[in-house]
């Protein structure tokens, strides 16, 4: 088990290097430091001297990959790639283009993200499974067909409408909670209810439909027929036989998402004014702050890889037949 995890972590290194190379190419080769200087300085102040000064200040005055002026290892370390990308591996994220320390920003902003994303995730899965189980009980009836139609309809509504509609109904018309904002004191739940509610409702369509398919796939297995033949009640078939066996496909889809919860949700956070990592990314995209985007890409891929490893480990927990080697 431990050996397996270590091997998987070692596999992650080439993937992370690949991710870094790709983002590096996107951000520096296509969009050269000169372009960045121009866009950061603003059209008015563009002079060759100003660009050169900006590049020195932000560390973009070195060659991209190989430095011919330096000797030995320094030929590779005295480059933009090493300074800007390889240092990410040591979790040295540097400073954003506006001069703020990215590591501090990330570590303070991930908590609000988690405060919204974790309840949404847990309640969402619980609601989806409950709804799906109810629908499966009425399998092959008219109710089942209409439920599937309802799920597909819910899926066909853009996420933006869920947010806009939720804010309009709950916050503006009924005045139950504030439209947006965030607090760090005891009142924080007032700001969390609506985003979590919107997130859960927006996910019901695709989630419940997916779980329904998983449960039906299990319901067609032989052991279910056997259980029915020996006289088990439908409820006990559903909860004692189908649900535990459907756990494996559920885990595949779900566990990989858990680490990504730290990243928060781009849309929810920006609409509800939550100072998390999602809105951080959005602001970085809008202000074209590539230092932040690069960091977030790196963190995102690490979390994804951790999610993959966790998925494998959770298999052994859910299904004793699975051995990792």
């Amino acid at each position: 088990m431990l050996a397996y995890i270590i091997r998987r972590l070692l596999y992650a290194i080439p993937i992370l290097i690949g991710v870094n190379l790709l983002t590096f190419t996107l951000f520096f080769v296509v969009n050269s430091p000169d372009d960045m200087a121009v866009s950061q300085l603003g059209e008015k102040y563009v002079t060759p001297e100003a660009i050169a000064a900006w590049k020195v200040k932000n560390g973009y005055d070195k060659p991209l990959f190989v430095n011919p002026d330096a000797a030995g290892v320094a030929a590779f370390t005295e480059t933009i790639f090493f300074n800007k990308s390889v240092k990410l591996f040591a979790f040295d994220f540097g400073r954003s283009e506006s001069g703020r320390d990215i590591t501090t920003d990330v570590s303070t902003r991930m908590w609000p993200s988690l405060a919204v994303a974790l309840p949404t995730f847990v309640i969402g899965i619980w609601v989806n499974i409950c709804v799906a189980l109810m629908v499966v009980m009425f399998h092959a009836t008219r109710l089942d067909r209409w439920a599937v139609f309802l799920f597909v309809s819910l899926m066909s509504i853009s996420y933006l409408f869920y947010i806009i509609g939720g804010q309009y109904l709950v916050a503006k018309t009924w005045r139950l909670v504030p439209v947006s904002g965030f607090h760090t004191d005891g009142q924080v739940w007032r700001f969390l209810i609506l985003p979590v509610l919107v997130g859960v409702i927006a996910g019901i369509g695709s989630g419940a439909r997916w779980y329904r398919t998983l449960f039906l796939e299990e319901a067609n297995q032989d052991y279910v027929r056997t259980a029915r033949a020996k006289g088990a009640s439908e409820i006990s078939i559903l909860f004692r036989h189908i649900l535990p066996n459907a756990l494996i496909p559920i885990l595949t889809g779900v566990v990989v998402l858990i680490p990504a919860l730290f990243m928060g949700s781009l849309l929810i956070e920006s609409f509800f004014g939550i100072p998390g990592l999602g809105s951080y990314m959005l602001d970085a995209i809008k202000s074209q702050d590539f230092a932040i985007v690069r960091t977030m890409v790196f963190i995102g891929s690490i979390l994804y890889i951790i999610g993959l490893i966790l998925t494998d480990i959770s298999y052994t927990w859910a299904d004793p037949r699975v051995r990792l080697n």
């Binding site: 372009d35 806009i164 990243m263 849309l267 891929s301």
Partner: protein, 456 residues
């Protein structure tokens, strides 16, 4: 009149021709015919297919672009013809100037007055502050109280014309297909509804703004219709970019195994571990920088917007091939173990021939299912990307841009709901139809569901 062929127009027509040829070839295969027969034997299949075809038809009409010739003023003594900088499409003509009836600013659906007050001078010459009347709505009415009766009578007339038009369109189909076993009547019902709706919309838009006007005074119904082309093209072109990459790499990885497999797996794991939205946003921003640095490439604004649109399709395609590739790799791994592929090897059949004759035809169902499934996801993604600011060029009509421009309108007092409603309605119908249709296609083509059906 001078035709304009934008890149996206050319691509979409090529795509339509390719799809027609593809389906024409597939018709010869009895198994495929049976599966399509299953899709179309249900009323739901007929209804959703007709709806999708309506959207595609509107998108194609909106892709036939041209620039109008301008009338030279008398003072200009020249034979040279000048063309309008604005690009018009066949759809604009069919809508009979719906997009040219601008107001000053917001107005509610079927309103006669503007939504916001303005300083005016009344007939007696006094300065007053009141709601100004609209320029293009209800100008034919002598008394505003006649509005209800006027709308009703005009709607009824339009509906009659719509029914007449439907009769003309459906009659030949009825003559040809009345003995068919498929439920064509469901399709005809939708066709009649669509035709009636559009006759009504176009005729009543001469007198009223059916869905009101937005901040810039543009007709919301017109904008929603213009969003159709963007949505449909984005959904199809992106998948078109993604397919060759995913299929080639997936089949090669599954068939050759070894280092090819390792490489492909490495590529798609790397790509899918990057948060998708960031990758897309970064690529779009970079392309935007490129466009801004090279403004001379494009002679008219529309071409610039179009270039950005194509780039977006391309980026969406390149960043989203990993899941299909994974599916195809797994399927190819399975197929290449089967007896007939082994037999082909034993007979010394070449790799290319095995791949094209034995492997590819057996993964077509995955490609088809993905194509239909991804379509609706891409239409939804467009709205989100436009909201983030990395979507369609704001000058190009799209539902995402409409939602983005209108997102704070509901929080006004009184709320402005019609822009969002317009975008919601047209987007929802398309995505719902595509989702329901993709369910049917998957049920018919996925061997797993097909096997379950034959057991039952």
């Amino acid at each position: 009149m001078k035709p304009v062929l934008l890149w996206s127009d050319a691509l979409i027509f090529l795509l339509v021709i390719a799809l027609i040829l593809f389906f024409y070839r597939l018709r010869r295969d009895p198994q495929t015919r049976e599966r399509w027969g299953q899709v179309f034997s249900s009323r739901l299949g007929m209804v959703t297919f007709t709806l999708i075809m309506t959207y595609v038809g509107i998108a194609l009409l909106d892709s036939l672009h041209f620039r109008k010739a301008l009338d030279n003023p008398e003072s200009l003594q020249t034979e040279e013809v000048f063309y309008d900088n604005k690009v018009t499409s066949v759809l604009d003509i069919l809508l009979q100037g719906m997009g040219e009836r601008f107001e000053r600013t917001y107005s509610a659906p079927f309103a006669l007055m503007s939504f916001e007050k303005k300083n005016m001078r009344d007939a007696q010459g006094n300065d007053i502050r009141d709601f100004p009347p609209l320029k293009h709505a209800g100008t034919h009415l002598e008394d505003p109280s006649e509005r209800g009766a006027d709308i009703l009578s005009r709607s009824l007339t339009a509906l009659l014309w719509g029914l007449l038009l439907s009769a003309v369109v459906i009659a030949p189909q009825w003559l040809m297909l009345r003995t068919s076993a498929n439920p064509w009547h469901a399709s005809w019902a939708v066709q009649a509804a669509v035709l009636c709706f559009f006759t009504w919309l176009v005729s009543i838009s001469h007198y009223y703004h059916v869905l009101g006007t937005d901040r810039g005074g543009a007709d919301v119904a017109y904008q929603s219709l213009k969003g159709i082309r963007t949505g449909v093209l984005l959904g199809t072109l992106s998948t078109l970019v993604m397919l060759p990459i995913a299929v080639t790499l997936g089949v090669m990885a599954g068939y050759f195994k070894g280092w090819v497999d390792d490489l492909v797996q490495y590529l798609y794991t790397t790509l899918s571990s990057i948060p998708g939205i960031l990758l897309i946003a970064a690529s779009v921003l970079l392309f935007q920088v490129y466009i801004d640095l090279n403004p001379d490439f494009f002679s008219i604004g529309m071409e610039k917007a179009d270039a950005r649109f194509i780039a977006l399709c391309f980026i969406l395609g390149v960043t989203s091939w990993s899941s299909l590739c994974r599916l195809i790799r797994a399927e190819t791994l399975k197929i290449s173990q089967l007896g007939y592929v082994q037999a082909a090897h034993a007979f010394g059949v070449s790799h290319t021939r095995i791949l094209s004759r034995h492997i590819l035809p057996n993964v077509v169902h995955i490609i088809l299912i993905t194509f239909v499934l991804d379509f609706s996801a891409l239409v939804l993604a467009e709205a989100v990307l436009s909201y983030i600011g990395v979507g369609i060029d704001p000058s190009m009509g799209s539902w995402g841009n409409m939602i983005n421009g209108a997102r704070s309108e509901l929080s006004r007092e009184p709320a402005i709901w019609w822009t969002l409603t317009g975008a919601f309605f047209f987007m929802f119908i398309l995505v719902l139809a595509a989702n329901l249709f993709s369910d049917l296609v998957r049920d018919a083509f996925d061997p797993r569901t097909a096997a379950r059906r034959s057991e039952a």
